[in-house]
Amino acid sequence: MELLEINNMVVEFPSRHGVFTAVDDVSLTVAEGEIVGLVGESGAGKSTVGNAVMGLLQSPGHMPSGEIWLHGERIDQLSPSDMRSIRGKRIGMIFQDPMTSLNPIETIEYQLVETIQTHLDVGTSEARRRAVDLLDQVGIPDPANRIKQYPHQFSGGMRQRVVIALALCVEPELIIADEPTTALDVTIQAQILELIKDLCKSRKLGVILVTHDMGVIAETTDRVAVMYRGRLIEMGETDQVINAPQQPYTRSLIAAVPPSNKKINRFPKVAIEESDGNALQNFDLKGHWLGRGDAFDTTVENLLEVRDLQKRFIVKSSILPRNRVYMDAIKGIDFDVRSGETFGLVGESGSGKSTVARVITGIYPDDGGSMRFAGHDLTGASGKDDARAGRQNIQMIFQDPYSSLNGRMKISSIVAEPMIVNKLTDTAEERHQIVTDLLELVGLGKDAAKKYPHEFSGGQRQRISIARALATRPRFLICDEPTSALDVSIQAQILNLLKDLQEQLRLTLLFISHDLPVIRQMCDRVGVMRHGDLVEVADTEALFEYPQHSYTQTLIGQMPKFAK
């Protein structure tokens, strides 16, 4: 008998636009001691499966047909109170974001003891003892003391361990882990996945691991189910699915995953039903407005030279300077970006890599050091003429496509605004033409101009973002995690687009990412940042193959390996 058996599950969300079928006829089994991956892109319905098993579908979602069996007992038709006694006790769940999964104003102890006592008839001291044990098992040092602390006193990884302890505290048979490591840095991710694997084996747990990350699937799961638009496309042993996918969707999905072990020129074209955008149009950019622009010296070897760059933020302000407390975000780093190359900056969250981008662009003023960009001095107040002239040739593409476009402006205005502000065009007609061309160039039709951002998907928005950046005819483009909010298939398209644009427009790129495989695909040279220091700079292949600095070694060692 399987631990969990899902038969023909259908989940529907009625809305004013009609009934949305989030899960469509999905059948799945999980055995004891087995980790089953549930993989798919956003909107695939993978999380909904997990919620449906828990009986925690968000209103107005419901399950009109299908069966869920837990150890031979049908659980999808239980009363709310019966279902409640199964939740936590027989099925545990781990959420994506450890920062928000814990009640911020209760101690860890309270939350553990409360959960234990809800399901088990034990005294408070016994519950406490179990709680301390659990924390010990999930790898929290000094559990007897730390149990008295509040969630905010734990780091992200530690918090996720606490979440796991909470999910495990009444020894459930099945764990549903919904993107348990997505919010975590790569080094922490590896530890948490290791913990889940250990617990699964040692306790004979069944685990459903819901994730969008093929790397995590490859490293962790025994079997994998691939979902697309509510349907289960393919299911099988993990090795087999990754190396010999049967279905076209699975194939294109896997093809879009940046391989961690080698650099490829372009990602293969994804063969799903519809594309996020059209392929790059072929313009004769030589004669085009985009190709003209100011006479700009592109012959210098180092387009950008950064020396001893420093940036610090005030953590605690005070009228008296001596009472102020600062956080050093960039602690004096040196690097060069050569003309025409793609220079990567990689690091975990908080390493200061995004701050570097914002200091170069002048969004944040620097606190020391020098930045020379094609002969212009970028340091000092961004209002200085020299810096301003230099920065006209620097543009940036942002991480979050949902916040990087002003939702109240039409696409035409968004793309035209840089030209208006910098007076780059003479007539409205010319501007209109350029907007149309730019939208075509990034693979959106000219009809896009009349629409508003909310009418576009994340990938399309990122294309709009690129069009806007190009509208100042920049020579230097900073990409700050441009694809980390995107699904992997879309990511592949955007990365392809960036590569194409770089070639055609002879752009120099500063590419910032936490994602090592993406860095490996995109960059010529890479700098590794940690706590505001640049610990290592090397050619990409050299860095991945022969990392010098111990931190780089750890980073590369712990990145999920995904290779076909």
Binding site: T361, D400, L405
Partner: protein
């Protein structure tokens, strides 16, 4: 046409069409506003023309002929012989004008202050918000009374009658701007941290353009909600100030002044002088409040179920 269709298809319009309360309250509010605007056209009398009044018509009961003059009035007359229906229509005009103008005034100050505080941050932010704190220290009624007092002192005697309305507007507006400022500041801080603002800096936009072209349109939703609720509040504040004797002059009464006059006749049996203006005020404020309520829920999709 395109934008009309877009507006009609929007979530807001959809939510409106599916909320009977919103439809009803919008209808009532619109009807009342329309009636107020068209008062000179639909009111049977002009109560603001003192020459047309006959004191002997005073205290006529609704739909009963007056004991002295034999005239009959649908909703009766007040102590000055003014037709209550006409007076309500004209009074509502004043109340609505005061309400709208006060809200616009508060909105302009509050939105600008909130935006500047949020965008500039640091010392500017601290100073603006400290001023807001001081303003909050003065309860709104008190602020209005003080401004009223001060303005009366400064206004030339023969202009006071006309000034009263503007003083009301300023005093209600001044006591109301803080909540606009706070909400806008909060919303603008969120917007400011969004990447489109950084993008605007990068393409060379100056602070003024960023504040007003980029951030402002994105913080208008909460402003709209506050403005709606403030409108109801302002209308009620006007009534309260009139009760305290610092409102619209009795010769050109607002709804609040009418209620103040009417409350003196509650025990004496002339209930209609109090009842009809009160009901009008209730309908007006309630419908605006209900609209504001709906708007708040509709514009905050997170709370939608």
């Amino acid at each position: 046409m395109d934008s009309v269709k877009r507006a009609f298809d929007s979530d807001l319009a959809w939510s409106f069409r599916h909320s009977p309360v919103a439809i009803l309250s919008a209808t009532v509010a619109l009807l009342l506003i329309l009636a107020a605007v068209c008062a000179p056209l639909i009111a049977p009398y002009n109560p603001f023309d003192p020459a047309s009044l006959n004191l002997m018509n005073g205290f006529s009961r609704p739909m009963e002929p007056n004991a002295f003059t034999g005239d009959s009035f649908l909703l009766g007359t007040d102590d000055q012989g003014r037709d209550v229906l006409s007076t309500i229509l004209y009074g509502m005009r004043i109340s609505l004008f005061v309400g709208f103008a006060a809200v616009v005034f508060a909105m302009i100050i509050g939105v600008v202050a909130g935006l500047v505080a949020a965008y500039a941050g640091g010392r500017v932010d601290a100073i603006i918000m400290r001023i807001a704190d001081v303003q909050l220290t003065f309860p709104s009624i008190l602020v209005a009374m003080l401004i009223f007092g001060i303005a009366k002192g400064f206004t030339p005697v023969h202009l006071r009658d006309q000034m009263a309305i503007w003083v009301l507007i300023i005093s209600i507006g001044l006591s109301d701007w803080v909540q606009f400022a706070r909400v806008v500041r909060g919303a603008a801080l969120v917007e400011k941290s969004k990447e489109y603002v950084e993008a605007a800096i990068l393409i060379g936009r100056g602070p003024i353009a960023i504040i007003f072209r980029h951030i402002l349109p994105n913080v208008l939703s909460p402003v709209l909600v506050i403005a709606t609720i403030s409108l109801a509040l302002a209308i009620i504040a006007e009534a309260t100030l009139s009760f305290l004797g610092v409102g619209a002059p009795p010769t050109r009464p607002s709804l609040g002044t009418l209620i103040r006059i009417g409350q003196g006749y509650l025990f004496s049996g002339e209930w209609w002088i109090l009842l009809f203006p009160s009901l009008t005020l209730l309908l007006l404020a309630l419908s605006v409040n209900l609209l504001g309520d709906w708007l708040r829920d509709a514009l905050n999709p997170k709370l939608g179920d």
